[in-house]
Symmetry: C2
Subunit: 321 residues, 2 copies
Amino acid sequence: MSILITGIAGFVGVNLAQAMLDKGLRVCGVDNLSRGNLSNMEGLLSHPLFSFRQIDMTEPNALLDACKAFFVQEALTECWHLAANSDIPAGVSNPEVDLKDTFMTTHCLLDVMKQLGMKKLAFASSSAIYGDHGSTALVEHMGPLQPISNYGAMKLASEAAISAAAESFLDKAWIFRFPNVVGVPATHGVMLDFVRKLKQTPERLQVLGDGSQQKGYLHVEELVDAMLFIHDCATEKRAIYNIGADDKGVTVKFIAEETVRAARPNAHIEYGLGNRGWVGDVPRFVYSIEKLKQLGWFPKLNSAQAVQKALAQIVAQEQDN
Amino acid sequence: MSILITGIAGFVGVNLAQAMLDKGLRVCGVDNLSRGNLSNMEGLLSHPLFSFRQIDMTEPNALLDACKAFFVQEALTECWHLAANSDIPAGVSNPEVDLKDTFMTTHCLLDVMKQLGMKKLAFASSSAIYGDHGSTALVEHMGPLQPISNYGAMKLASEAAISAAAESFLDKAWIFRFPNVVGVPATHGVMLDFVRKLKQTPERLQVLGDGSQQKGYLHVEELVDAMLFIHDCATEKRAIYNIGADDKGVTVKFIAEETVRAARPNAHIEYGLGNRGWVGDVPRFVYSIEKLKQLGWFPKLNSAQAVQKALAQIVAQEQDN
């Protein structure tokens, strides 16, 4: 079986591809390499079951041509769509970013899948589609969905387009609503920021906001495991699942302290004001994974353990650079 | 105060514009006249407080230039965004239709509003954003939202983009989830179809499906009244309201029989098979307007009365043509 993965050079893409190759599947990946990069794929490019094409999938015929080239080897039956803008603040200041990279990638993919008769689609959605619901736990059957970032809005727009496609030509859609994911290869996020800041100014770590912002974190290895589990076990035609840690998360203060401990034990931490980092960021939310647990999947690490494991990996990654 | 209305030449647009002019507001309307048409606006074009420009608002600078021209008279403070594809089956067979006419109109509007400092937006969303929930009543706080048509998907995408804009630059967003609306000037829909079919073949009326499909119907005059009521009374920053009839609706069979009674009493009705007219149509749904009733608005007509009133108007409209 051949799987198409979009956004394959990104953080989640390379981890997912490796897991699929380990299962003996053929993996065909595309990426425009605007944020993902070739060095992330070092372990993949030499694998006999792996193919890669650098394309911008929103350009006319780019994805269609790439898929036809992949087809020469074996028919593509299923797509895992991860391509998206990953810089949320960039998308808040310029809505064109998420329109093109987060939504139009989905729109163009659906067009190609329809043309090629590909009927199964797994999609990386986001907890950002819910918006700010305060202390109410975010569950799959809640509404109204009121994203506060263009990233969240265009992920929801993508879910909507996929839902309509499931009525007209898709046989199956898996929609994974991602949590905050940590691990390597780290390309962005608060931990990488902190580690890099400490490299520049080893004596102090400046934190945006007062450090009280609290979120749950899942390690990318567990995320991939959960996605594959849902893929194999969920029976609904449109299978929508939150994936996340099974706790209330850890604060930015905890992450700052752990980063200092792992990288520069003598550094001083300086906090700013407020608990919202930037427009479009949800300051604190409770993420329910009850539906996923009912299906039979449980995370092995809690948020604190996921952060600690990822921090050790990120510190090592940055030492090598 | 000056109000911008997009899609003003459509069925709802002309009724809304007239109601606003009756309140003494200045109304600036745009429409690409692809489905709406000038004859719908006969009563408006001579009004001293009414301005109109024919533009395709998804073309670069078209809406910005139109708004700047309107600005010469008085600053635009608020927009009522009605422009959308209204031919749902057309959008199911070609996703580009709803992408451009239903979603990109919203995306481009938000860009212009941001540039011009317009901070209030009222949006015509749709019951189609919910998808098919069987006999479960559709309420504003339910999920998951799983539209089954590209029209519903791109209405949901628009809601999402507006929600994000309400975080970054809009002061207020009203989102009206429209029901099936009837009245004049009728431009599409089952009643107009029936009346026109009977004009062509006066002896019989052929019905798509078995006639068991049941929906609630609201008269457009009541829809406009409800929108203005919500606009004046709802306090949330993102005010999302279902608008609809307060009953379980009437069947296609009822509409067919009433049409025959109003237009051709001796015609024979012939039914087809199945209860779903076309891909993307939700065959039967229960629409909750409890939230709207809590706010203090109640429809005066039930679905049957709304259909009967509209039918008399549509028969008269078609006799004139």
